[in-house]
Symmetry: C2
Subunit: 350 residues, 2 copies
């Protein structure tokens, strides 16, 4: 038998951040695709849409009127999955039917008054305003005694369940720490206690040596396709400095984060010359009053497109029942993203 070659052969990779394995099947990308085609988002939208419930001055479903905002705009989600006023209580039947009341807050953040923009089409200083809102919201919500975790995220594109193209994100903040950040807490804590350094600090050092999966870097942030990526063009955005949450970032680091987000999302859009769908969000320390020195702030991008603007990766039968699985290697994905222009395709001269 020849030597194990992860570029060509099936293998498993370990995700040290959440403690789970993922199956990689590089040879499988040769398979022809005859299934569902997504509608690529090449829409030309107006700068203002009178029917959009997020545009400035418009009336929302519950009758409230949006202010004529000029930068960002934040409000309580009119259809929040979590609400603050829930009577506490729980159920336990034989240890098998267990439930407990959950409370929290849902917020919506408009990134810009312009209905036609998306993050990659916004200036670094305008993205910086979004970073500032995330910072304020994390601080304010996190200070509440009834909120122990704050999830900031964006669903972009219809294929990611986004029902309004106006550039916006959400926050779901709640009493308990949800599953994913709880796993990351466990993993980061074990690593920190063993090594005295954060898991992601050490990981960045290795990636700096390997130079195979880095997509973009500036003085304060590294954008890379993690070794254990699940989604085809999944990326991780990590600050070089080991901080636990966004409120600890300096002004310069926040500007650099805005630049990293802009540079990454421009490359995403350029890859298939389409408005690249994704779900993205920040992972930060729980706001449970503990220090959490093990935590290293980061941002995940989970984009579904695989081969083109119309062909996505499906996480279905095997993935749901057995294990996460991907068809291209992280190294190939990083190379594809790295070689994209840093100028958005809509702004490139013909």
């Amino acid at each position: 038998m020849s030597e194990f070659n992860p570029k060509e052969q099936a293998h498993r990779r370990f995700n040290p951040l959440n403690g789970e394995w993922i199956l990689v099947s590089p040879h499988r990308s040769k398979r022809p695709w005859q299934g569902q085609q997504e509608a690529p988002d090449r829409s030309q939208r107006p700068t203002y849409d009178p029917t959009c419930y997020l545009c400035p001055g418009n009336t929302r479903a519950n009758g409230e009127v949006n202010p004529n905002y000029e930068g960002t705009f934040v409000f309580d989600n009119d259809f929040a999955a979590l609400t603050p006023e829930v009577p506490t209580g729980s159920t336990d039947i034989g240890g098998l039917l267990r439930a407990e009341a959950e409370s929290g807050v849902g917020r919506v953040i408009c990134f810009s008054p312009r209905h036609d923009l998306t993050l990659p089409e916004m200036s670094v200083s305008d993205i910086r305003r979004v970073v500032d809102v995330w910072t304020d919201e994390y601080r304010t919500l996190g200070a509440r005694p009834d909120i122990n975790y704050v999830q900031i995220f964006e669903n972009k594109g219809q294929v990611m369940g986004c029902s309004n193209p106006h550039p916006h994100g959400q926050i779901w903040a709640q009493r308990t720490v949800p599953g994913e950040p709880a796993k990351e807490t466990t993993q980061q804590l074990a690593y920190f206690e063993k090594n005295g350094r954060s898991l992601l600090s050490d990981y960045l050092r290795i990636e700096g040596q390997e130079q195979q999966r880095i997509v973009f870097e500036n003085a304060h942030w590294v954008v890379l396709v993690p070794y254990w990526a699940i989604w085809p063009f999944e990326t991780l955005v990590v600050p070089r400095r080991h901080v636990q949450d966004i409120t600890q970032l300096t002004d310069e680091e926040k500007d650099a984060l805005a630049e990293a987000i802009q540079q990454l999302t421009i490359r995403y859009d350029n890859l298939f010359q389409t408005s690249f769908p994704y779900s993205a969000g920040l992972h930060q320390r729980p706001t449970d009053g503990q220090e959490h020195p093990e935590w290293h702030l980061h941002m995940h991008f989970y984009p579904p497109l695989l081969r083109s603007a119309t062909v996505r990766k499906f996480m279905v039968g095997y993935e749901l029942l057995a294990n996460a699985q991907r068809d291209i290697t992280a190294e190939y994905a990083a190379q594809r993203l790295r070689e994209q222009s840093n100028v958005h395709y809509k702004q490139q001269p013909d």
Copy 2:
């Protein structure tokens, strides 16, 4: 404050089978939907399609010709994610970049020669032939020393990544035990060691008393919406007898499984009068040579539709970054399925 009311208020439920929590937000189903619409599958297909690579007598992508099969037909996947001949090997850089070679087998199972059918439109005796193929395949693959887990599944519908409507399922069998069955092994083992009975035996007893989540039952099987369901109309198909895998079922139990699958999928199709998409699959004991007395065979159905033939549930931002979440209660979903006719809508008199 009033009393905790899980029918109306947000709460978390615990999944004892995999040890994870899920967020339930019943009040949220009132939210209007303006996002992506799925194309409902109301296609009238021919009984034979000359361009289908699964129809009898047709030539596949790799040049092989399908036999003129009359019942079921099984073959090695031409684009398998797992292949048997992989050189062993592994990588470990600082405990953070870890990989190991993985080997296995991919199989495709045609359920019927008829291109136009799906499981709910097949007779119980024809579905029984599919159950027999699953049994043979599990036995044969599981006996191989290089196969320690056998995942049998079906992706149905374009929205579940299925690229060919010809009724078929798949098997991915491999050297290691994947994540989901590994979690279920841990959970079932802990329960069995503590209580001396299988987790699902005790769970069935409670559900029999509660009578709130059962969709269909016969002498040998119970079909129910599990208390901890994630997908809107997710179901669990459980044998009353505590067996570890499909090869232990009696003839009568296999007939009854075929009936349970038919009765469930007919109700699925009737719910929104569409060919109901889902991913489904069997969970059975690993074929690692251990007894696994803790294991209780079962089948999961994960269907994505939420409100209609065109509006699905998206597992996106919050779900990917934080926690599984659903909008309707398991009890409501079970009631909706229970009240459906047991005659397929296409076969109902006008």
